[in-house]
């Protein structure tokens, strides 16, 4: 094999390896496949008293199946509650009385929005708001309530 052929072969090997690495990083490691698919979505809004540690791009789940993502989180200035907008896959239509709760996957896991479909015949359309919401559980509040109850029951004993 002459020198030029060897060089070309070597460079070819390098480029092919790099392309394979990029493909693996895109498809298996990162969310590129999910982003690139970009299925048609519609937007829903929901007000929460407290969103806890919910982040943008957190999953929206229906019966544990991911059907959308949180697209933005902000404060509604008219009532100072958290306003969460999410993009839901168009393939899934939800009844108008669907409720949303902020849940945690596992004890230390990330927070996500869990949807509970209702029985209404009307379906939520693009831009609609989910009226029934349940805030995130904040551990400090829970402990506070627990302590208050404990001291209350002690007071009763006396």
């Amino acid at each position: 094999m002459d020198k030029q052929a060897k060089i070309e072969l070597g460079v070819g090997v390098l480029v092919v390896l790099a392309a394979a690495a990029l493909f693996m990083l895109a498809m298996k490691v990162s969310n590129f496949a999910a982003v690139a698919q970009d299925r048609p979505t519609y937007t829903l809004k929901a007000h929460f008293d407290n969103i806890g540690g919910l982040k943008v791009r957190a999953p929206v789940k229906l019966s544990g199946v991911v059907i959308g993502r949180v697209s933005s989180i902000g404060i509604d200035r008219s009532n100072y509650r958290a306003l969460v907008t999410m993009k839901i896959d168009r393939a899934y239509e939800l009844p108008a009385d669907t409720s949303a709760a902020i849940l945690t996957s596992g004890l230390l896991g990330d927070q996500y929005i869990g949807l509970e479909p209702g029985g209404d015949d009307e379906m939520l359309a693009d831009g609609d708001e989910i009226e029934l919401t349940q805030s995130a559980l904040v551990l400090e509040d829970l402990i506070g309530q627990f302590l208050v109850k404990m001291s209350d029951s002690k007071g009763d004993d006396k």
Binding site: V11, V15, A21, V29, N31, L108
Partner: protein, 258 residues
């Protein structure tokens, strides 16, 4: 006292002058950078020299760094019953920091030093002057192909290093320590962002590549034409190249991940 101040001043001026010369050197290089794409043979030879010949060290290092990350991550995470997160941890640390940085450090040692030595020897044996005598522009013919090759090759090597590191982590975590196969990949996909993690890592490696290329070529160009001078220049390339990469990494991390 005065003498000490003068020494400090002289040192500072010589540093500044060197920085200025490096800037002018880069400026002179810029208009010639398109040239290697017309003379692909020159470019291919440099890509082969700097890239393909660096593959063995990059492949081995990537695999072992990934395996160590898998092992260490598992040992910590198993205490919290979340050993599936070992994939996420390996992938994120490789994509954001270790991939670009370790590849750049290895590259400085493997290819940057060789570039400096090569150009330093060309200067000391007056090959560069000979080229000029033959009306061949050394900037277009010698420097530009090397610069372009380095900037192209380092990101490619970084991608290979990172992918192999993740495979190494997979090998240890799933193959040896018994982490669940599906959870390993699905957790990774859920937490690794294409734009934030993969693309930013590649941007980092391009910045490192430009720094390494400038340092290696400039030190070769500046080297005093003696065997001692060339050896000092090679050392300086490795030291300045590595320190620069680490400093740039801090700046880039602060800009990207805040």
């Amino acid at each position: 006292m005065i003498r000490m101040l003068r020494a400090i001043g002289r040192w500072g001026l010589s540093r500044l002058r060197a920085a200025g010369r490096a800037g002018l050197f880069l400026l002179g290089l810029l208009p010639a950078l398109a040239y290697p794409f017309w003379r692909v043979r020159l470019l291919l030879k440099q890509v082969y020299n700097t890239g393909t010949l660096s593959l063995p060290i990059i492949l081995t290092a990537g695999l072992f760094v990934g395996m160590v990350l898998g092992l260490q991550g598992y040992n910590v995470l198993v205490d919290y019953n979340s050993e599936e997160a070992v994939g996420t941890m390996t992938a994120l640390s490789l994509l954001r920091e270790l991939g670009p940085v370790v590849t750049a450090l290895l590259f400085v040692g493997r290819a940057g030093s060789a570039l400096t030595a090569e150009i330093g020897l060309m200067r000391s044996t007056e090959q560069l002057s000979a080229l000029e005598m033959m009306a061949v522009d050394p900037v277009r013919f010698i420097f530009a192909p090397r610069f372009v090759a380095v900037v192209l090759v380092v990101p490619l090597l970084t991608l290979i290093f990172t992918a192999l590191g993740i495979l190494g982590g997979y090998l240890v975590a799933v193959g040896w320590l018994g982490v669940d196969d599906g959870a390993f990949w699905s957790q990774m996909t859920a937490h690794v962002d294409w734009q934030d993690d993969v693309v930013n890592g590649v941007i980092k490696s391009v910045v490192f590549a430009v720094w390494i290329a400038v340092v290696a070529l400039f030190q070769g160009e500046e080297a005093p034409p003696t065997s001692e001078g060339v050896s000092y220049a090679t050392t300086r390339t490795v030291v300045q190249g590595s320190l620069g990469v680490l400093a740039l990494d801090f700046v880039l991390t602060a800009l990207m991940f805040n």
